[in-house]
């Protein structure tokens, strides 16, 4: 029995369709990340699973039960918010115990659970403090503690790390991974940060404008993006997408300013207008397939990002080698056939050709 199932879940605000039908099955203990730009509907989707938003169409199933009409407290879920949402006037202990008190658990049970969670999250010393006496990271851990003590079937995370500074975010990401390995609770995690998605998720749902463009493992999403949106959203710097037309014999890719030699000629590609996707790290400096004009070089220390121009189109190459070429010079580039991603310019879908 799956832990969570989404069956064509749709959301309308009045006449406006915000979520167009998302379906997936999440197994017990799986950590699934919903990632997408602002406004794509990922938080709305999460809130529908939580019960904070009405489900316009479709069903949400948790632990085998259809939960569409149920209040959040009856769905056996726990949620961690972006702004922590801790009760400001209660101590950390009471913040974590509140939900259990309402459920009517005995004082001993409550104490046991709270102290257990505090131990896991290293909050033992902070139980008597109020939220305003805690740092951002500590507050986020209290919010997680509040979720853990409920022993729910599913954890729901709504961009929990977005309010933390960059260094703390990296630290908390690792802690979250450790926590998941330790507790093994099914988790649904929403974020706009593709790095968090790639590192935390066992599977990723990439959303755009209310649609799930791709659902797959990080490797699948990275190496075989289903649409141009996924291709350019996952990975930093984003994948280069070049417009052009394949020659009649399939050996060349003609852009508005020149030709790119292709290593393999395929009949399926011949003569078609297509988008060629190439990841920055897949471009080999000194290759013989095409040349671009260098516009800027960004040095990141370990890597260098070369921003170049191919006619009207810009692209980025990444290399670990020191580049001795000056701005305005011509950069010779090449790539292997495996590194090619082909997309239909009209439908933005991936083409296996």
């Amino acid at each position: 029995m799956a832990a969570v199932e989404l069956r064509s879940v749709k959301k309308n605000f009045g006449k406006v369709a915000v979520i167009h039908g998302v379906s997936t099955v999440i197994d017990k203990g799986e950590f699934v990340v919903i990632v997408g730009p602002s406004g794509c509907g990922k938080s709305t989707l999460l809130r529908m699973v939580a019960g904070l938003e009405e489900i316009s169409e479709g069903e949400v199933v948790i632990g085998g039960r259809v939960v569409n009409g149920l209040e959040p407290k009856d769905r056996d879920i726990a949620m961690v918010f972006q702004n922590y949402a801790l009760y400001p006037h209660m101590r950390v202990y009471d913040n974590m115990a509140y939900g259990l008190r309402i459920r009517g658990l005995s004082k001993d049970d409550i104490d046991r659970r709270v102290r257990e969670a505090a131990k896991i999250l290293e909050l033992d010393a902070l139980l008597d403090r109020k939220p305003r006496q805690l740092s951002g990271g500590q507050r986020q851990r209290v919010a997680m503690g509040r979720a853990i003590v409920r022993h729910p079937q599913v954890f729901l995370f709504d961009e929990p790390l977005s309010n933390l500074d960059a260094k703390l975010r990296v630290q908390m990401r690792l802690e979250l991974q450790k926590l998941h390995r330790r507790l093994g609770v099914t988790s649904l995690y929403v974020t706009h940060d593709q790095v968090e998605a790639m590192t935390l998720g066992q599977r990723i749902i990439v959303m755009n404008a209310g649609r799930a463009e791709q659902i797959g493992t990080p490797a699948e999403v990275y190496h075989r993006p289903a649409t141009t949106f996924v291709a350019s959203f996952i990975g930093s710097p984003p994948m280069n997408l070049l417009r052009g037309r394949v020659s009649a014999d399939g050996t060349q890719f003609r852009t508005d300013s020149g030709s790119i030699n292709l290593r393999q000629a395929r009949a399926a590609r011949a003569g078609r207008e297509l988008l060629l996707g190439l990841r920055p790290e897949a471009l080999d400096i000194g290759g013989t397939q095409f040349a671009a004009e260098i516009e800027m070089i960004e040095s990141l220390g370990a890597d260098h990002l070369i921003h170049a121009r191919l006619g009207m189109q810009s692209l980025v190459a990444r290399t670990a080698d020191e580049i001795k070429l000056a701005l305005g010079a011509s950069l010779a580039l090449g790539f292997s056939a495996d590194a090619e991603h082909w997309f239909d310019p009209q439908t933005t879908q991936r083409l296996e050709i």
């Binding site: 959040p72 918010f81 702004n83 400001p88 509140y98 939900g99 309402i102 305003r132």
Partner: protein
């Protein structure tokens, strides 16, 4: 950068000292007058500003009633103080309780006629007690509430200002707090009791002071509603003591009563002040 100019500092201190003097002098005179005998007040012109020796006697007569030097009877003020206190407390607590609940309804619930109710309450802000006093009197007397605590407090117990204040405060409570409570399993009233009211305590303290003083200072309404001497609040008592014309006024007793009438509101303000400051210093997040 604050300029340091000794002359200006002296000037500002002077102005402040003057202000304090202007405000405190009448209170001081009242206090001094209450420590002297009636004889001394009338015969000594201008009245001496040094404390007299008659304080205990004057206050005893004021509080418990009795004969004075002129042989006139003075009604006991103690019972009037009690009436004032009960009225003011009932009005303050009643107003706060009702306004908390109505603000809660306006902010967290959607119901038909919500806008209409809100605007009706807003309109009542423009109607002072005096405008509606005749019909209110008629209703109160028909309900047999004259000369009762109920009659003194119920017509004054709904408050539009308090409702607005709480509404504004509730609007600043983040939505996520409500959602977290919902996920924890708290229903609306549970949320109200466990989360909203504790967070509103500073507003409650502020409003309590305002409403207590409002209730304490009520004069027109109690004047209409009470005929029984035992149900008169202390502000009425003071007025009654000053009977013009031929009768001699026991000014020292009157002054003593005035001081006694000022003490409870002052005590409330001082007590609540500690609460405000505590609430302001603990900046909530």
């Amino acid at each position: 950068m604050i300029e340091r100019r000794p002359a200006l500092t002296v000037l500002s201190h002077l102005v402040l000292a003057l202000g304090v003097l202007v405000v405190m002098f009448p209170v001081y005179v009242t206090f001094i007058a209450s420590t002297q005998t009636s004889q001394q007040i009338i015969t000594q012109v201008p009245m001496s500003l040094a404390p007299g020796s008659n304080m205990l006697e004057t206050y005893r007569v004021a509080l418990f009633g009795g004969e004075t030097t002129y042989g006139s009877k003075v009604p006991p003020v103690a019972s009037m103080l009690w009436v004032s206190f009960v009225t003011a407390m009932t009005i303050a607590i009643g107003k706060i309780a009702i306004s908390l609940l109505s603000a809660f309804a306006f902010v967290y619930f959607r119901f038909p006629g919500r806008s209409l109710c809100f605007w009706m309450i807003f309109v009542t802000l423009m109607l002072p007690v005096e405008v509606r006093i005749s019909p209110t009197y008629a209703v109160v007397s028909n309900l047999g509430m004259l000369n009762t605590y109920a009659g003194l407090t119920v017509p004054l117990i709904a408050s539009a200002t308090a409702t607005f204040l709480f509404r504004q405060f509730f609007l600043t409570v983040p939505d996520e707090l409500v959602e977290a409570a919902r996920i924890d399993g708290a229903g609306p009233m549970r949320f109200f009791k466990d989360v909203l009211v504790p967070l509103s305590m500073t507003s409650v303290a502020a409003l309590f002071v305002i409403q207590f003083i409002y209730g304490w200072n009520q004069y027109l309404w109690p004047l209409l509603v009470t005929t029984d001497e035992s149900m008169a609040p202390v502000v009425m008592g003071i007025k009654r003591m000053i009977s013009g014309g031929d009768a001699q006024n026991e000014w020292n007793v009157v002054m003593a009563t005035a001081i006694l009438a000022m003490l409870p509101p002052a005590a409330v303000v001082l007590l609540m002040q500690r609460w405000f400051v505590k609430g302001l210093v603990d900046a909530e997040k």
